[in-house]
């Protein structure tokens, strides 16, 4: 059985935040509440990144998801006044969707996760080493040498394209 120490305790706290927040997102009637739940869930994700010794990604998660995307979503909710006319939150096939989601989870858990990485599964479920790549190496991988320079540039191109596209789409043409 799991030893109860700071790491496992933190894991369970973050797991509750993550899954609870996600449930809140899909069930809340009020979209602002949904956005707050989304932030809670993403915060749990950032906690996982810290536990998994990827602090850079944890900070980026907070900065990009919580600081930018969540704010953007809240803005969109307010601009479209979409939290007022919410008589029906879900569509007619919501039970079908719930079935799909539950079946997918069941399939993933029973079919993949437990047989392969479960206790006594096919592959080891403890880290193979504690030699963790650092943030320095991440930066070097992105721009130094031949590793990921091209994908990095393509990603920045994608962001630029998305920015221009978003401005063009959302601009008020009448004004």
């Amino acid at each position: 059985m799991l030893e109860l120490n700071a790491t496992t305790l933190a894991f369970f706290v973050f797991a509750i935040l993550s899954v609870g927040g996600a449930l809140g997102v899909v069930t809340s009637r009020n979209l602002i509440h949904g956005a707050v739940y989304l932030i809670i869930s993403l915060f749990g994700g950032a906690g996982f990144f810290i536990l998994l010794s990827a602090p850079f990604l944890a900070a980026v998660q907070v900065l990009v998801y919580i600081g930018a995307i969540a704010i953007l979503i809240i803005f969109a909710v307010m601009l479209t006044r979409s939290m007022t006319n919410m008589a029906e939150v879900v569509n007619r096939q919501w039970w079908l969707s719930a079935l799909v989601g539950a079946l997918l989870l069941l399939m993933l858990a029973v079919g993949v996760i437990f047989p392969v990485w479960g206790d006594g599964g096919l592959l080891p479920n403890q880290p193979v080493s504690d030699q963790v790549a650092t943030t320095d190496e991440l930066g070097t991988a992105f721009v130094g040498g031949e590793d990921y320079v091209l994908p990095f540039e393509v990603a920045s191109l994608l962001l630029t394209g998305a920015m221009i596209g978003a401005i063009v789409l959302a601009r008020d043409t009448e004004a």
Binding site: N30, I32, H33, V36, I39, P55, F56, A59, V60, V62, L63, I66, G67, A68, A70, I71, I74, F75, M78, T134, T135
Partner: protein
């Protein structure tokens, strides 16, 4: 392994173990005390800060400022705080209770959490994260969220309008701030706050990164909602902005948050550009480093207070235009120039070795970078002058067009 218990300040854990505590409990108690100290310090400091601010503003405006309660009016803010606590705590009808109550807490958290990575002295820092600077940027973006939540949950249109403005302001000014911060990172080659300070022992970053220091200072003023960017609480237009419905201690939290944030921003300026704790003797006596840091911060803080008392508020569209059409392009050009010059100095071999603490070793690179910065400033001023002259002429032609225009309008018809 056995750590000696010399005195309970430096070796608390060892002392606790020798007094019979287990190792885990000892480290837990040590961490807990550290957390409480680091988070209590700014909260106590805030009372003093408000007094300083009121005194400075009063002197600038040829008044005396608070002088009745206690010596020099020092206890005035204690009295104010007591008044705030005693006030009735109102939640407006139609407010979203949970979000309304959570917002002030998140606002204060967003500032207090920054203090975890502030290096107070060579030996004292909450947590020297390898991503310290990024952590600061990430945490300060949470503050935006608190304001949004407060404005929306109050169920008041002025609060919502204020929140919209503030969020637009904060999100926009984050861009030049982050780009400006990249240059010290380039020079130091690290994101850890303690290493950033150590890299400045030879030469403060304000010399080689003059332009980015100025941009960081300006965008920090906007981030913290200080004059001349205090549209957050434009009393004359928005009643009070996002916190209009808050009363009692919840309002107190927002106010404390504002002052703490302003001080923290200046603290970070001192850490990132004025060498933090570095100074003669700081390595031997960590406490001296703390004194240096507070002195540097104090100078910057007083400067921002005088700025606040003298500069009028900027109009919202001017503020956004200033950011997107001026600060962002300048910061990006500055980054390009600095990166180029740093690379050139490294290729020429006149860049200081990493960890070099000698002043003279830093001079060549800093000099070249400073020249680049000064050239950039000169270029900006020149561009501003010519564009200002163009605007003035256009304005003149528009207002006096019919009387004094040399070329009659519409003569081509």
């Amino acid at each position: 392994m056995e750590q000696a218990c010399i005195n309970p300040i430096d070796t608390l854990a060892a002392c606790l173990i020798s007094a019979g505590a287990t190792a885990e409990l000892a480290s837990f108690v040590q961490i807990l005390i550290g957390v409480v100290l680091i988070s209590a310090f700014p909260l106590v400091l805030v009372i003093l800060l408000i007094w300083v601010e009121r005194k400075v503003a009063a002197r600038v405006q040829d008044r005396l400022g608070p002088n009745r309660v206690g010596p020099f009016g020092l206890l005035q803010n204690v009295a104010d705080a007591v008044k705030l606590i005693l006030k009735e705590d109102i939640t407006p009808a139609g407010a979203d209770r949970l979000i309304y109550n959570a917002a002030p807490i998140i606002a204060v958290l967003s500032v207090l959490l920054i203090w975890a990575v502030v290096p107070f002295s060579p030996a004292h820092i909450g947590a020297d994260l390898s991503i310290g600077l990024l952590y600061f940027v990430a945490i300060s973006s949470i503050g935006t969220l608190a304001i949004m939540m407060a404005g929306w949950a109050s169920n008041n249109k002025y609060a919502l309008l204020g929140a919209f403005r503030v969020v637009a302001q904060l999100v926009s000014y984050e861009v030049p701030m982050v780009v400006a911060l990249l240059i010290p990172v380039l020079l130091a080659g690290t994101l850890s706050m303690q290493s950033l300070v150590r890299a400045q022992i030879g030469m403060w970053f304000i010399v080689p990164c003059l332009v980015s220091a100025i941009i960081f200072y300006i965008s920090n003023l906007a981030e913290t909602g200080r004059a001349p960017f205090d549209l957050i609480e434009a009393e004359s237009e928005l009643v009070a902005g996002y916190n209009i419905e808050y009363s009692g201690m919840k309002f107190g939290l927002f106010m404390a948050n504002e002052f703490m944030h302003a001080f923290t921003a200046n603290l970070l300026f001192a850490v990132l550009f004025l060498g933090g704790w570095s100074g003669p003797g700081a390595e031997q006596y960590p406490l001296l480093g703390f004194v240096y840091l507070m002195l540097k911060t104090g100078v910057v803080y007083i400067f921002s207070l005088i700025l606040r008392a003298t500069v009028p508020r900027v109009r919202i569209d001017h503020m956004m235009a200033f950011n997107w059409k001026f600060l962002v392009p300048v910061s990006i050009i500055n980054l390009l120039i600095a990166a180029l010059l740093i690379q050139i100095t490294r290729l020429l071999g006149i860049a200081p070795a990493p960890g070099e603490t000698d002043f003279l070793a830093h001079v060549p690179q800093a000099f070249i970078l400073l020249l680049g910065n000064l050239a950039l400033i000169g270029g900006i001023l020149q561009a501003l002058r010519s564009s200002g002259r163009r605007d003035r002429l256009a304005e003149q032609a528009r207002t006096h067009g019919d009387e004094t225009a040399i070329i009659p309008v519409g003569s081509g018809d």
